[in-house]
Each structure stands twice: as structure tokens, then as C-alpha cells.
Symmetry: C2
Subunit: 559 residues, 2 copies
């Protein structure tokens, strides 16, 4: 029974469709501009964003999907201050970061990320190792003093981010937590329906030793992801190791010199001049490598005393070179050739499409542009060490002080909205998956019929359908077109054939489960389907009002 | 039927009760310190706040109450950028405000309030006067460069605020909107259960001509509210007009000189030396009064030409003076006594407790300390005029340009939490009304019994009871005490008398409706009530598990 009370009808937001009459849609309009034109957001200034009701609903839906999955793996939400004091950032060496928003007075900054503050928070709360792991997350604004903001939500001065942090007793416990988060991320991205890639990544400025990027593959993306045709391994460009299909004996060979951190060894890296050396790849062979850029002459000088028998020399050769390659002359003299080690067939340069995957040594790698929407890092003690986040742990010989092993895990909420907007748009405008659509169903009425309205909106309210009535004083055609532009998955038309209701399918289908419901209920609900010309996609459904909620839900279930 | 799936049990937050063993509760501990000790928030730095799960749940509940009531009156949520550019603030003359947080570079500020940005936003969206009224609100952080932060959430550098803004065609339409908001505010404050006062207020820095403050009466409050014993009119100290019970002929009389904005009239305000003159009160009689502080001698000088017959003189005498009072000598000469007007019996000084209410001229006013938690302003064109927010309106003679009439309406969310914490605490710690309690029911188990747990948590989940199981490894007594400290309305004890469950009442009762449920179900549920010694308050309930959800809900309904 539907409870008797005054009927509440949800309506389209203020200013919905406002600017649509003024512009002609074209796929050349950049998505960030389209989002503003359609009223999801406005840009009061370059890099700054106002979220209107339309965009805010999407933020809320996406945030709740993330909350659900993070809560499921035992992470707890909190919300740290948006302002942080310089003290902690000096302790970790990040106060002088280039994109830090500082407040006048030079004491405070606007948080770009919260490793410092959350470590400080946990450190103050933590009373015993028995309380570990501590797993926390927040969904709140972050700030970055982006000098050249672009792409609207993709790279702005402020953005909404889910940032999670984990604190474990040691690395092996931290790996368990890391894998839990990876599991939750898979669920989150599956909930969103858009195909994604988890790519092995470099830890960059955040630090730590294990990290993955979560990408949407899209040609507009600024990142490059390499994927193997055989083992499906994916990694970003800074992390992709590859072998050549065949060695190239013709190209000129360059050499770059490095040293180990203990200064005992000169490392000579040889690579083809037409490729880009990635010094971090040398670290895969020589873990003690010092990545600092040294003046090459001074470095060689420090190894020039040929009587110093404690010095060692390693020649490391990129896999693209052959042993017969014509290496540059070695600039130093030796007293003993046994001081030199030579490593060959090592991937030292950034990968290129068509090379062989170094993971499986079988498949061929292909490069695709991608939009990064999430990142998971194992941080180790990068923040816990300088901030002294440690616990006393009992051992056989008494208590010992152990530094916490941390992880951090981000998802860009405003970024995902921008990325999905870009990925799913087509000739008819935007097209949102149901998971984050501003609302699921636009309702359009032809003529006014109070009895009809009462019946239908009672059904929709009772069925908890997420609809909006478009009651603007414009034509039905315009309403349907604009609902399509806006990317709303379905439209319902209440017209002269009522109680038969028409449902227009706009959104993308990610499944066909609705067909089971159709087979079960088609007669009962007088349910007819109209397909497009190629008989591939269902484009319209006609159904008796009594089956409306069932049909709508079964269609949305695939979207 | 309860659906078959793995049973999810909600548990108390991480670090719950962490610091409780370290301190002895006393009512002398300031509430802002208590909130931190109990883990609702932490203060990473003076004036800055981290919200933990405990506090965040309260923010969410309170925000949702506000959302519901604002949506009901047709306001639409949005979320503006937290960073604003100086341009708009210079246009309205607020860039040089004393508590503005500016970003390095002197171009941007952190928003303390959003009149400028929302006016700019609406101005850009508004296409026709037919779209009016536009009613918007947001719930997001605000910033204030408070030099001496105090009282934790009461006066910090960042705070969570609901700020709403309305845009109407003219003042009379704006008044309709204003009254709608007043109605919604009454509902919000009634939902929260804590007694409140709506007081006539001065518009202060925000500007405009009509405003009310919404207060919680509390002796710790920094504001003063006067209330009439007869007509119940309430107003803050800057707005309270009062008459003396009897005139005081003994006190010394002071005079202060003002002028009208057109410089035509010298206004001489006479008042007793033991009271504080409020120049704005003179404006009630002389609306054209210039409130600028003038050098008194220079002002008199400018009126000293006794042959200038265009000058006028008004002597205005506070109601506490009698016509027979000995006024100071008038320092100027006149050519004509008709140039002087004298007004008597006007309230010119700040009210004092025990005086007569000027609204009803009957009741006596009393002064109480209060905590301001909301504010409603009619702004008129204070922001729309300098920012050129106007619409074309058709008139008989063609289109005319009309400046928008605005209103703004704030509620301090973090402030309300702090205020209610202060108001409702007692010898046993905090005590939250159900409307905003972090959770409603703490569950404590004596012994472990899987079957019992399964039964009870299924019931609680199915009944949508907002509970947390306290499964920490501490004694039952400690768990109950700490639930009480934390201010959770009810505790449930699953003990050896199961299926009889014990319910401890901690929270304050704002009603007695549970007694109807009791009369109806006491036999069915084997429901017993234990009262305190004075037989005034029910302190414990014993009930069969099958009636648990009904009893818990009926008790919470009054809390």
C-alpha cells in the first residue's frame, strides 16, 4: 500500500538546460566545456570549480560507492583539516613543493594530500601495536597550485579526492592491507562499469616501493600505458621493461655515468642514441645506484686514480645493443681488468610499442593513452620514519621500537566524473552509467492530467526510482533531446496512449540481463520493444504503467 | 523475512574510548577539550580541526536534517569553490576584511562566506526575471583567519556552515522567501530538540536591514539575548529597545553630536553617563542619521554660523532622562529658536535587565547569555548593486532594469555540535539528542554466544537501528560508563537473562510518547521498567528480544 500523504514530485534542477539553446552540439567541443555548458559545474576562475546540483548528485553517488567498498574492507572514514602547518611538511621535506598553496604569513598550506597530517594524527592516537592495522580514509577537497590549469576537472586548483592511508606493523602486514585495497578498487571500478586498467607504476614524489595506477584507456589521456598482448601485464611508461624484437647494430651508442651510493663503483650505462635512458631501470640490476645527476667529468675524475684498487667498474648495456656493438672508448685506465664487470641484455630505455614484454618475454606490447583516476602506493617508512611514527613491539629479548609501514591510496572523484564524461560521450552528447548519473530517469508529460500524474509519481516514488520531472515550458522534443545531451540513461513519456508508457533508452548497455525480465513479464505488462534499424540496440520500450517500475529497474540494471 | 546473507555487525570506531582511562571526568573540563578527549575531533593546531568517525557521523546527521528542511522550501543545494578571487571582494569592499585568509600571491582568498561568489554565479545563469526566485544553499567548509581561536568548534579557523542565499525580484517577494526560511529554521531547531530563541538582530558587517539571530540560551555563551516576560519578544543587545521603570534625575548627563547625511541637521543625543549610547537607536527616529564618528568640535564648528538659516538642530533625549533633567549647556547660538526640535522619551542606550520592553511597553526584560547558532539576513541590494545583479522587467512603458533583492541564511554546523555538547552535558559526561548522536545504541555483550549475536544483530539490522557493538577487550562496566560519557542515548546489554534484554537509558527525554507503546505492548514483550529513586525518570528497561526494536524505537522517539 502506498502511504497517503501529499505527493512529492522531484523536478529538474534550477537552470537545467539553460544554455542549451545557445549552442550547437559538436563532438569537437571539449568535455570540460560541455560539462559547464550543460550546467554540471561552472568555472568561476581558471582551475576553480562550482558544483551545481547536477554535478553534486554525481559526486554524492560516486562518493557513496567508494565509501561502501572502503568500509567493507575495514577502512574508517574521517575528515582532516584542510589547512596544515608547515612544521610537518618541513619534517618530510615537502614544504618547498612547487605546487603547494600557501597562506599569507608563510605558516600554513592548503592540503594537497594528507600523508603528513594523518601520520601525525595516528601517531598521537596509537597506544599499542595491538591496535594495528589502522586503516583510514577521507573524501574531501584537496588543493594544488596548478600554474596552467587545464581540462577543467582533470587538472584544476582544487579537486575532490578519496585518500586512504594504512598503518601496519611491518611490510608483510602492509602487503595484506595493500591487496585488500586492490580488491576494493577492483570492485569500485567494476561498480562504475567503465573498463579500466590496473598498471604497475613508479612511486614518483610520494615515495615508497610498490605502486599501481588505475587508468581509463582514452585517447585524450595524458598518460601512456603499455599492455602486453600475451600476459596482459600493464604498466605505465616509467615502469615498462621491454626487449627489442631484434638488436640494432647500426645506431650510434651513448654512454652515461653513474655511481653507487657508497661511491665505490662507477656505473657506465650504454644505450642507443635514438632512445631515452631511464636511470631507474639500472636500479633493477644495481640496487645501490645513486640516481642523482652528477657532472660527468667530475664523476670520471673521482675514479681516475688507477692505483686505487678499491674502485670497481660496471658496464651495463641496453638490450637493444649487441655484444658486437661499437661502444665508445672507455675514458679511464685500469691496473686490472678484473675490476670491470659487464652486464648485457638489460632493458635500460623507455619501452616502445611493438617491443617484447619483459614480464613474460613472449607477448608484444602496445601503447595506449590513458587517464589516471586512481593510485595505490606502498609507502614503507617514507613518512613514518621522519615523523617518528613507531610502536613498541615485544620480542624475546624485551621491547623493541618498530617504525610503522604505511600505504596510501587515492581516487580522484572529480577526475572520474570528467573522465567518464569524456569516454562515454557520443554524437548525442554525454552518456552516464547509472552508477553516477545525476538522475536515472527524466519524466516528460504530454498534456496535463492530474490523475495520471498522481498514479505515475506514486509508483515511481514508491519504487524508489531516481527520476526528475522536466516541467519546463518547452516542447517535448526539446526535453527529450536535452535529457539525452545531459546523459540521463532513460526518459519516460506520459502521453496519449496512457496507461501505456513509453521509455526511451539513451544510456549505454553493459549487459543484457533485462531480457530475462522481458521474457518473464512481457505479456503481463503488455511490454513491447522497438529496436534500431540494425536490430542491435533496443531504443524504445512500451509498457503498461503497472509494469513501469519493474521495466525501468531491469533496464537500469544493465546500464 | 530477514534476507539470508552474511551478517554485518557495526562496531565502535577505531580509538573509541582510547583516552578515557587517562583522565578523570569533571564538569570543569571545558566542552571543547572533552570533545577531543572523547575522540569526536582532534585539534592538530589551534583553531584547526580533524573530524573523526565519531564527529563525522554527527556532522552527517545534522547536515541531512538541514538538507531536508531546506529542500522542502524549494532551496537547491550546490557547492561553490572554496577559493575566491580578489576581484569580486574588491567590488563589494570586503577584500581588506580583518579575518580574511589570503593565499600567497595576494590574488585569492579562502571563502569565509559566499555572498560575492553566489551573486556572481546567479548573475551569470539568470536569463529572465521569470526564473526568480532563485534559492540556493551549500554545506561546506568556511575559513576565518581568527587571531585568537577559542572554544574549539565555537570559534575556529575553519568551520562547517550551511549558507543559503535567495534572489528575488523585489523586497516584498524577498520577504516571502525570508519567512519561508524562518519556517524551515523553526523546523530544523525543533528537529534538534534543544530549546532555542529567535532574536531580532542587527545586520552588522553583512549589511541589509532585517535580521534575526538563532540562539541557544547558555551561560557559557558570548552573546546576550534580552527576552520580554510579557510578549516574549527576544532580541540581541544591539537591537533591544527598552524604557526605564522610572526616570533617574540624579545621574550626570552626557551629550554626543551627530549630523544627518545631508549635513543639514545637527543631532544632539543626551543620555545618562552610567549607560552606553547606541547611535543606531537614534536612527529609529532620524533615519537619515550619519553614523560616522565625527570630531565633536569640528562638527559643532560646521554649525556655528548663526546666520545660516538652512541649518536645523534636533535635541534627542534618552527615555531615562526627565524633561526636568539638567541638560548640559547648548554650545551654539541661534538666531531663531524655531530651528530647534526636541524629542523626548526615546530609548537611546543599550538595555539593561529589569527595564520595560519597548515592543509591548508592558513586560520586563531579562538578559541571558546565549550561543549564536544561526543567522537570517535580508540583504536587499547590498551585494546585488555593486555586483550588478539585475534583471529586465516589463513595465507599462517598456523594459526596466531592476536590481535583485537578496537574502542570506547561515547555520553553523560545527558550532551547533559544540553548543549542544555544552548545553546537554552533565555529571556523567556528554548527552546527545537522538537527532545528531554519533550512534543511537551501544550494544554490550556479556560472554560470547554466537546464536544470540546472530539473532539480535539480525533484528537490529532489519529494524534499521543505528547501533554500535562495543567489542573492545574491557569490562562491561567500563563499556557502559564510556557509552554514557560519549553521550550515546541508549545502551543494550545482552546478558545471562537472554532472551530478556536490558536497555539502559542515558539520554535526555524530550517527551513521554514511549508510554503509549508501553501500555500497548508491555505484556506481549514482557516489558518491565525500572525508575530512579525519585520515581521520576525511567533508567532501565527489560524486554524480550522480539520486542527489542519496538521498545528501542519508542524510547528514541522521545530523545
Amino acid at each position: 500500500m502506498i502511504p497517503k500523504r501529499s505527493l512529492h514530485i522531484k523536478r529538474v534542477p534550477k537552470f537545467y538546460g539553460n544554455q542549451l539553446s545557445k549552442f550547437k552540439y559538436s563532438q569537437d567541443i571539449p568535455t570540460h566545456e560541455l560539462l559547464a555548458r550543460l550546467g554540471f559545474i561552472t568555472y568561476p576562475r581558471s582551475g576553480l570549480v562550482n558544483w551545481t546540483k547536477l554535478g553534486l548528485s554525481m559526486q554524492d553517488k560516486l562518493s557513496n560507492i567508494i565509501r561502501k567498498r572502503m568500509d567493507e574492507i575495514g577502512f574508517e572514514e574521517l575528515s582532516l583539516s584542510l589547512i596544515s602547518h608547515r612544521k610537518l611538511w618541513e619534517d618530510t621535506g615537502r614544504w618547498e613543493g612547487s605546487e603547494i598553496f600557501k597562506l599569507v604569513g608563510d605558516e600554513y598550506l592548503l592540503v594537497p594530500t594528507a600523508e603528513e597530517e594523518i601520520t601525525d594524527y595516528v601517531n598521537k592516537q596509537l597506544e599499542s601495536y595491538k591496535q594495528l592495522p589502522v586503516c583510514l580514509y577521507q573524501i574531501n577537497p584537496k588543493f594544488r597550485n596548478e600554474k596552467r590549469p587545464r581540462g577543467g576537472l582533470l587538472r584544476g586548483k582544487e579537486f575532490l579526492m578519496k585518500d586512504a592511508y594504512s598503518f601496519d606493523l611491518d611490510e608483510s602486514n602492509a602487503m595484506v592491507t595493500y591487496e585488500k585495497v586492490v580488491g576494493a578498487y577492483h570492485k569500485i571500478f567494476q561498480d562504475l562499469r567503465i573498463p579500466y586498467v590496473k598498471a604497475q607504476a613508479d612511486s614518483g614524489d610520494i615515495g615508497g616501493s610498490l605502486s599501481h595506477e588505475w587508468h581509463y584507456i582514452n585517447e585524450s589521456g595524458e598518460d601512456t600505458v603499455f599492455k602486453c598482448s600475451s600476459c596482459n601485464h600493464a604498466s605505465n611508461v616509467e615502469k615498462t621493461l621491454s626487449f627489442p624484437k631484434e638488436v640494432d647494430e647500426s645506431s650510434e651508442i651513448l654512454v652515461k655515468y653513474f655511481t653507487t651510493k657508497d661511491k665505490s663503483t662507477l656505473v657506465c650505462a650504454y644505450y642507443p642514441s635514438n632512445r631515452v635512458l631511464e636511470p631507474k631501470f639500472i636500479q633493477n640490476e644495481i640496487t645501490d645506484l645513486d640516481l642523482t645527476e652528477h657532472n660527468q667529468d667530475e664523476l670520471l675524475d673521482s675514479f681516475s686514480n688507477k692505483d686505487d684498487l678499491s674502485k670497481r667498474f660496471v658496464r651495463i648495456m641496453d638490450a637493444r645493443l649487441s655484444p658486437r656493438s661499437n661502444l665508445p672508448d672507455f675514458p679511464l685506465n685500469f691496473s686490472n681488468r678484473a675490476m670491470i664487470t659487464t652486464l648485457t641484455d638489460v632493458p635500460l630505455v623507455l619501452a616502445q610499442e611493438g617491443e617484447i614484454c619483459a614480464e613474460c618475454e613472449d607477448g608484444e606490447i602496445t601503447a595506449t593513452n590513458a587517464i589516471e583516476v586512481g593510485h595505490t602506493f606502498y609507502l614503507g617508512d617514507k613518512y613514518s620514519a621522519p615523523l617518528n611514527c613507531a610502536v613498541d613491539v615485544p620480542t624475546e629479548t624485551g621491547m623493541t621500537r618498530q617504525t610503522i609501514s604505511m600505504g596510501c591510496y587515492g581516487i580522484g572523484i572529480s577526475r572520474i566524473i570528467a573522465a567518464i564524461g569524456e569516454i562515454n560521450r557520443d554524437a548525442k552528447g554525454l552518456s552516464w552509467p547509472k552508477s553516477i548519473s545525476p538522475w536515472d530517469v527524466t519524466v516528460v508529460e504530454i498534456g496535463q492530467d492530474e490523475e495520471r500524474s498522481k498514479e505515475v509519481f506514486k509508483l515511481l516514488n514508491h519504487g524508489k526510482v531516481d527520476y526528475c520531472l522536466d516541467d519546463r515550458d518547452v516542447s517535448m522534443g526539446k526535453k527529450l533531446k536535452e535529457s539525452g545531451f545531459t546523459g540521463i540513461p532513460l526518459s519516460i513519456i506520459l502521453g496519449k496512449h496512457y496507461p501505456i508508457v513509453e521509455i526511451e533508452v539513451r544510456g549505454k548497455k553493459y549487459g543484457d540481463t533485462w531480457k530475462h525480465t522481458y521474457e518473464k513479464h512481457k505479456d503481463e505488462f503488455d511490454w513491447k520493444v522497438q529496436y534500431d534499424n540494425e536490430q542491435v540496440n533496443d531504443v524504445k520500450h512500451f509498457v503498461h504503467k503497472d509494469g513501469l517500475v519493474t521495466v525501468v529497474n531491469s533496464l537500469l540494471n544493465d546500464m
